[in-house]
């Protein structure tokens, strides 16, 4: 049951901000344009809580599509404060998981020949083999299949409705390449990630009863970060909300569209706002950053945005740090000078983030930090625990339970057990399968409490005692079992990377660790102080970015995301006399005010 008092309180607070209040109470299709720090998540969660309390009656529910699992977990946590628990009725997750768990798994069995029975989700290797094999069939030349596939896959994700004449009419060979590839996968009982929303689209389009079923279950669809979700979701939304009866509540910010490489396109959000039947609400305030930062940041986009700061907001600091020397010197400068200074100013480590354009830059910072033995928490692609992997996070939670969590049920065994059920059976299992799994898990965890092991030793036993068996009985369509082997490798004692289980389990956000992450992964987060590392010429933008006008626009938006993360302090670190061109206008703007 929802917690009505908390909701009332939240609604009361929102009254102070006219636009947010209007958005939360909107009863038609609604698009909320929400700039950095504008209270986007708060608006979204309050809107969800309000509709669940006032409009959506059990057993109907809501669906909320987010950009990745991390956002989904964040939303779940925020919603639990309103007493809204994930009870299996509400859906909160990615568009892929929506397609898989709400459309393909329940209904594909009613449509003959659509997907192989007991299909699995292909891993990277399986995809590669299918691409190569399909390439041979369609082109049969010695060119690189991968290059051609990039074009083919772009077409695949853009031209969602294949019944249109353009699918085969335009670039026929690419269409055949895609179809051949999919056929190769199907022959082996596989679908890939991109298949999920595409298959779901086809199912809804061709079977009106599926759309009706979704309308019945989810009268309102929420979409977070609309600008990042690409064509397939856009077409799905069209089918469900504008051709169907589902009400749409979308939030997004075209300025923060930074996933062009996955098919995202800021124009899709724009097109929603131009519809007659959609109410568009622009949030005006930036509650996050100091006034200086708010004013200067839009310079990065080369456009005007006019976001306002609430009265009494601090000014904030923007500090330019030219460093003589290469990236290594810049990294040491950050560790030796900036961090010390921030500590002196009383900024807590967990409120500091070092942001960089790509993961390889992160490796340079890590080197410098480890030399000084400074604790950090890395959340980009090179991090130990992949935050977007449910399985990796399950392993981590198990470690937490063993290293003391069992005393306070943090996490609770029940939670671990539910995660295990989901990972192994995708939540579809019989009573006895459930009991067996519960037995295995508690046995393993209890034993782990008494044997003292390093992380690596424990992971090897985890692999041997649970994973080997689980992977053989697994019925889940998405399997990430390799994640455990990867972790074993990453903690290899031969490479001197092993650690205590306590340390391993605490590798997530803890106290006293500063955050290392890429611009991309920093989206949606905020810190008191942000240090931008490597704002050099040739990196920001790099050669690839300047190839097209579109990609140049996107890298500007990426930098915009980075500079809008701090609340009060923004440090920019770059090579002296070799700074990024983006800094010019930015610098000029800071001098004006």
């Amino acid at each position: 049951m929802s917690n009505y008092l908390n909701l009332k309180q939240a609604l009361l607070e929102l009254k102070k901000n006219e636009e947010q209040f209007e958005a939360v109470n909107c009863k038609k299709h609604c698009v909320v344009l929400a700039g950095p720090g504008s209270g986007k998540t708060k608006t979204l969660t309050t809107a969800i809580a309000r509709t669940l309390h006032e409009e959506v009656i059990n057993p109907r529910a809501i669906a909320c599509i987010t950009y990745n699992n991390e956002c989904a977990i964040e939303l779940e946590t925020r919603l639990s404060k309103f007493g809204i628990e994930s009870n299996g009725q509400n859906f909160i997750g990615t568009v892929h998981s929506f397609a898989l768990t709400q459309i393909i798994i329940p209904y594909a069995r009613c449509i003959e020949g659509l997907v192989p029975k007991n299909f699995k989700v292909a891993n990277l290797l399986e995809c590669k083999i299918a691409i190569e094999s399909a390439y041979r069939t369609v082109y049969n030349d010695s060119e690189d299949p991968k290059t051609q596939w990039d074009f083919a896959n772009e077409k695949r994700n853009k031209e969602v409705d294949r019944t249109l004449p353009t699918w085969k009419g335009h670039n026929r060979e690419l269409a055949e390449f895609v179809e051949e590839y999919e056929l190769e996968l199907r022959k082996k009982g596989l679908i890939d990630f991109d298949d999920m929303p595409l298959i779901a689209f086809k199912m809804i389009k061709e079977n009106s009863w599926i759309r009706q079923a979704l309308e019945a279950r989810f009268p309102i669809l929420f979409v977070d970060e609309y600008q990042d979700l690409g064509h397939v979701l856009h077409e799905l939304v069209h089918l469900l909300c504008f051709e169907g009866k589902i009400r749409l509540f979308a939030v997004g910010d075209a300025d923060q569209s930074i996933y062009g490489f996955t098919g995202a396109n800021p124009e899709l959000l724009q097109s929603l706002t131009e519809r007659q039947d959609v109410q568009t609400i622009q949030l005006r305030f930036n509650y996050r950053s100091g006034t200086k930062i708010v004013k200067a940041s839009s310079a990065v986009l080369n456009e005007e945005r006019n976001y306002e700061s609430p009265e009494g907001s601090p000014e904030g600091d923007i500090i330019f740090n030219p460093v003589i020397g290469a990236l290594e010197e810049q990294a040491y400068y950050i560790v030796n000078n900036i961090l010390t200074e921030l500590a002196f100013r009383g900024v807590k480590s967990e409120q500091i983030a070092i942001l960089y354009k790509a993961a390889w830059l992160g490796d340079k910072i890590v080197e410098a930090l480890e030399k000084k033995k400074i604790a950090y928490h890395r959340t980009d692609r090179n991090s130990l625990i992949k935050r977007s992997s449910r399985f990796a996070r399950f392993i981590e939670e198990c470690a937490k339970w063993i290293t003391g969590g069992w005393k306070y049920a943090e996490p609770s065994f029940n939670r671990l057990f539910k995660q295990a059920l989901n990972i192994v059976y995708g939540n579809h299992c019989t009573q006895s399968e459930k009991q067996t799994l519960e037995q295995q898990l508690i046995d393993f965890l209890q034993r782990s409490r008494v044997v003292h092991e390093t992380a690596n030793e424990w992971l090897i036993r985890f692999e041997k005692e649970l994973i080997v068996h689980w992977s053989s009985i697994c019925r889940n369509n998405i399997q990430e079992w390799d994640m455990c082997l990867e972790l074993i490798q990453k903690t290899s004692p031969e490479m001197n990377k092993d650690m205590s289980l306590e340390l391993f389990s605490g590798k997530t956000e803890g106290t006293g660790r500063l955050t290392l992450t890429t611009f991309h992964s920093s989206k949606g987060r905020e810190f008191d102080a942000v240090i931008i590392f490597g704002a050099n010429k040739g990196i920001l933008p790099d050669k690839r970015d300047i190839k097209t006008f579109k990609s140049l626009k996107e890298v500007r938006r990426l930098f915009y995301v980075a500079v809008t993360r701090p609340k009060t302090i923004l440090h920019l670190v770059y090579q002296s006399k070799n700074h990024s061109e983006f800094l010019n206008e930015f610098y000029r703007r800071t001098q004006q005010s």
Binding site: P59, G88, Q89, C110, A213, A216, R217, H428, C429, S432
Partner: protein
């Protein structure tokens, strides 16, 4: 939404049944045939009050014919359809659609041997149950579903008086609690004060006061001060928050409490309250669909009352609830819609179920049958076999002929059904649909010989009707149809006699007239009519030689008497005489029937 199909296998009386359903269900069948077991099977799937330990069945729950070595499974599959118009039901059930029919959802119960048991299972611990949806064992059914799609049972041994009398179990309780919760608290306080005033007033009466005091003293003596119960005499608890507990239902203008009602009235009240409770729970969004099972609702009810109650109950078209009723009452059976009837019959050690839900009959035919059922008190629904005849004469005489050859039709549960003409088809469909063995006694009707005898097409029509209802009967071939058009009467009637249709070579009365002994009795009756000299003379000639009997003349005379009156007279004469042998084709029909029940 409505129930569409029910499948049960290997459970108690049922080896395997698979019956279509349409909304409400009326289960008919003799005692011990398994009506309650059928309801219990459905409860295994959806009754939320049934505990897990009750769902863990026993080995003895397997159908007796099961060979445990073959690891049989008990399965119950309940299919619903027409749920898509209701978004709440759709949201609830959409995961359980059937792969080959997405507009139907299936909820299932299965009880089977655990996979790790090798060899013969010996106790119920070797078995496990599973409740799942969509026909796929790994799709488990959400608890919500069992809470929101409910089955309530009023069993045959329900104690209506007790249920209504005790506050805890009363179906009235949630209704009153709900209504009282909405009453303004200041009003409650006023009422409470009034009540307290009345309490004080009565206790102040010296006679009452002295009784109160002496009782209190007595109790105190027994229990001691530490455990003083502080008893007092009063009308009712006057605490505003407990006021509703004193509210009850009274009958006869408030003179008597409901617990003093007659057994019959209490039953009516109980059913009404249950239905009201369903509506209320739906409004409260606790439930989305209710199945109410009532065993023998006719208990303690006068036939007229039965008819009016069940007419009303079945008239209500509420797509969010359905009734499942078991009954022995012909009155009730006649009042319910034909397509709600499910007939259970014991055949070769297992109970078979026959449903009239999808009986292929036209609306006119349905009206005919429903009228017939009312007129005959739905005798056919409870029979074990039926002899279909064309008219009153046969209806009167066939039982009497049977007695002559030593069979008591009533005792055997065989009923004679007079279809009042020659349109047997709707009745044939009904009997076939009910799984009833039957024979047809009919006339060859050669007419004047210029056209084919009417009996030819009639027999083919009857066969086609059977095929329409029962898919296990094979369609008549072209060759067979040709035979029916061309065969001589002898060949034709012999062939059909093997298939349960028995023909005379002209009409019933002529056949009687041409049967020795019977012929005499008939001519006696004709003689007694004091016809004119011409007819009298003709009757005398016929007496000499029955082969001389002229059908046209004979029928003209019978017409003057009236077929019904004639058969009445004939029946009297047959009963009074010794060993009268019926016409051969009727004899064969009766023997055939008796053999097949």
């Amino acid at each position: 939404m409505h129930l569409k199909n029910l499948k049960i296998s290997n459970f108690r009386n049922f080896e395997s049944i698979d019956i279509p359903l349409k909304g409400n269900i009326v289960l008919l069948g003799e005692n011990r045939v398994g009506k309650s077991n059928l309801i219990f099977a459905m409860r295994l799937v959806i009754d939320q009050t049934l505990s897990d330990s009750a769902r863990q069945l026993k080995i003895s729950d397997f159908w007796d014919g099961c060979d445990l070595f073959t690891k049989p499974k008990i399965e119950v599959h309940l299919d619903f359809t027409d749920f898509e118009a209701d978004p709440y039901l759709t949201a609830l059930l959409t995961d359980y659609r059937l792969a080959d029919d997405p507009h139907t959802v299936r909820l299932s119960y299965m009880f089977r041997c655990k996979p790790e048991i090798i060899g013969l299972p010996t106790s119920s611990e070797d078995f496990e149950f599973n409740i799942y949806g969509g026909g796929v064992e790994t799709i488990s059914v959400n608890n919500q579903v069992r809470r929101r799609i409910c089955l309530d049972l009023l069993d045959a041994l329900r104690d209506a008086e007790n249920q209504l009398g005790s506050w805890k179990n009363s179906p009235l309780r949630p209704l009153i609690e709900n209504a009282m919760a909405a009453v303004d608290s200041t009003i409650l306080t006023t009422i409470s004060a009034d009540l307290e005033a009345a309490n004080t007033k009565i206790v102040e009466q010296p006679q009452i006061k002295s009784l109160d005091d002496s009782l209190s003293k007595q109790i105190l003596n027994l229990s001691g001060k530490a455990h003083d119960l502080k008893p007092s005499l009063r009308f009712s608890n006057a605490d505003p928050l407990r006021l509703f507990r004193s509210l009850g239902m009274y009958i006869d203008g408030g003179k008597r409490s409901i617990s003093e009602a007659s057994l019959g009235s209490a039953n009516v009240v109980l059913m009404a309250l249950k239905l009201e409770e369903f509506t209320w729970r739906r409004e409260k969004n606790e439930r989305n669909y209710s199945l109410l099972c009532i065993e023998e609702p006719e208990a303690h009810l006068h036939p007229q009352l039965q008819r009016s109650i069940f007419k009303n109950i079945f008239k209500e078209k509420d797509s969010a609830q359905a009734l499942i009723i078991t009954s022995h009452s012909p009155t009730l059976a006649a009042a319910v819609p034909l397509n709600s009837i499910v007939n259970l019959r014991l055949k070769n050690d297992s109970t078979k179920a026959f449903s009239l839900a999808n009986l292929p009959i036209s609306d006119d035919e349905k009206d005919d049958i429903e009228r017939y059922l009312i007129a005959t008190r739905s005798e056919i629904l409870f029979a074990k076999g039926v002899i279909f005849v064309e008219g009153d004469a046969e209806e009167i005489l066939v039982p009497c002929f049977a007695e002559q050859i030593g069979h008591d039709l009533d005792g055997l549960g065989i009923t004679v059904c007079n279809v009042g003409g020659t349109n047997f088809n709707p009745y044939i469909k009904l009997a076939e649909g009910l799984g009833l063995p039957f024979v047809v006694i009919t006339d060859w009707d050669p007419l004047d010989g210029t056209k084919p005898a009417l009996g030819r097409a009639r027999c083919v029509g009857i066969w086609d009707s059977r095929v329409e209802v029962n898919s296990t009967i094979s369609l008549m071939t072209e060759k067979g149809r040709n035979f029916c058009e061309t065969a001589t009467f002898d060949k034709f009637s012999q062939a059909w006699a093997k298939r349960g249709i028995f023909l005379n070579d002209e009409t019933f009365e002529v056949a009687i007239a041409k049967t020795p002994n019977l012929s005499e009795l008939l001519l006696d009756i004709l003689h007694e009519q004091n016809f004119g000299p011409k007819r009298t003379k003709r009757i005398e000639e016929w007496r000499e030689n029955i082969t001389q009997i002229d059908s046209t003349q004979l029928l003209a005379m019978i017409k003057d008497i009236g077929k019904g009156r004639l058969s009445g007279k004939l029946k009297k004469k047959i009963t009074n005489s010794e060993s009268i042998h019926p016409p051969m084709y009727i004899h064969n029909a009766i023997e055939y029937m008796v053999e097949n029940v």
